[in-house]
Amino acid sequence: MIPAKVDDYTDLQKIGEGTYGVVYKATKISTGETVALKDIRLESEDEGVPSTAIREISLLKDLKHPNIVRLHDVINSDRKLTLVFEYLKQDLKKYIDSCKDPIPTRQIKSFLYQMLRGVAYCHEHKVLHRDMKPQNLLINKKGELKLADFGLARTFGIPVSSISKEVVTLWYRPPDVLLGNLKYGTSIDIWSTGCIFAEMYIKKPLFRGKSPKNQLKKIFKKMGTPSKEAWPSVVKLPGWSEYNFQEYPGKTLQELVPTMEDPEGFDLLSRMLQCNPAKRCSAKEAMKHSFFNDIKK
């Protein structure tokens, strides 16, 4: 196989700035196909290839699914790596911001279902995404939605002792992880997905904290401070005694997401936004929920 070159692509247009470099829209000369090129500068001598890039490339080589962004190629050229991705026009964040009217329920159902299908596939393949948020979900004109940005993802097939709690963008981070739970599993992505589910209705993030402690306070004020009865192991988490939150009664989901209206939707949302990770539903279970009965699967 002939290694791919940057010269194979033309019409480069800058479309964004990633963590490690510029992202371009480009055309593959030989096929006319539109792609996204993500540059990873290898400038830091001490760091070498960023571990986020190593993870993203290795995991995406393994994950091939209609709801996960496809990595076509990796190009090694002078002092940088270029990742060649399939091109999708927009991310969910920009889509939500661009909608003046409420997003139609049918559309929300379709996006949520596709999100869950992508997450379920990751979990089946023993991968945690760990950074689910609207900015990392790409959509196209056909209404397809794909999970992107696997830089924080990890596999959980092998028991590893080095696990970080600094995962998931604060607003989408689940309460158990905020309290210092290092034994998290697939439920970490379900909480984030639940937050995005609500966000598609209210068109702003559900919990917008400024620090981990403040984030927890926002969550408990809305969802109610969890009781030891409902979540016995919470007392063992380091943040529980450290923060010592007062007992907020919480609000109903109907108050938090007034535009939802659909009782099936509230039921599904309540299963995803469980403070106790053991009580959160799995992606597969969520996909079977009656909320999705009337959509094409």
Partner: protein, 200 residues
């Protein structure tokens, strides 16, 4: 150091030594940046040095062996020799740590412990990632197999000295490949059962 780690590091040195002995007659491959003048430190001492100083999770050493075996399997022109084994090993452990561990040290640290200039370490990393085609995912099943295989590995010199023609003489590297593959298969098919196969 706990008992399991001692066993792991001893068996890894024995395994790598045996793989390298199969290519005793191979010369330094000047086209391969992993291949350098014969390092003064023995394989055994090098493994020990990495185990003692690299503060990555222990699993990374097992994963590193899986990566090295993958590379020789996927690249028919690459054999493990006394000229390249040191560099392959430290680069494999580093790649494993950067992929699996959430807290890991940077390349500078690996270069220092591995005794390799930083700039070289960075080149080795890139070369390594492309040689393995970025396939760093290891299933639990494969991990368990390799782990058991390493723990069960017996340091027998089963390798006859004679039948390996040097690349120069016959250009029949296929023998070497076959024999390195045999060891690889032994590692994978080990039926040795250990009671405690889970590294905490």
């Amino acid at each position: 150091m706990d008992h399991l780690l001692i066993k792991l590091s001893t068996n890894i040195s024995n395994l790598l030594s045996q793989l390298v002995n199969l290519c005793e007659d191979e010369e330094k491959d000047t086209n391969n940046i992993f291949s350098v003048d014969l390092p003064s430190i023995s394989i055994h001492d090098y493994v020990q040095r990495l185990v003692d100083n690299l503060r990555c999770s222990q699993q990374c050493f097992v994963v590193a062996i899986a990566y090295i075996l993958r590379i020789i399997k996927q690249n028919s022109n690459i054999f493990l020799t006394k000229y390249n084994i040191h560099r392959f090993l430290v680069t494999a452990v580093m790649s494993a740590a950067k992929f699996f561990d959430d807290q890991f040290y940077n390349n500078k640290f690996y270069a220092t412990v591995g005794g390799i200039p930083l700039e070289e370490m960075n080149k080795l990393e890139l070369e390594f990632l492309f040689l393995i085609d970025f396939q760093l995912v290891i299933s639990r099943e494969e991990f368990t197999k390799i782990f058991r295989g390493i723990l069960a590995f017996e340091n027998k010199q089963t390798t006859p000295k004679q039948p390996f023609p040097s690349r120069k003489r016959k250009n029949e590297n296929i023998d070497v490949v076959v024999h390195q593959k045999n060891i690889q298969e032994n590692i994978y098919s080990s039926h040795f059962q250990t009671k405690q196969i889970c590294l905490k």
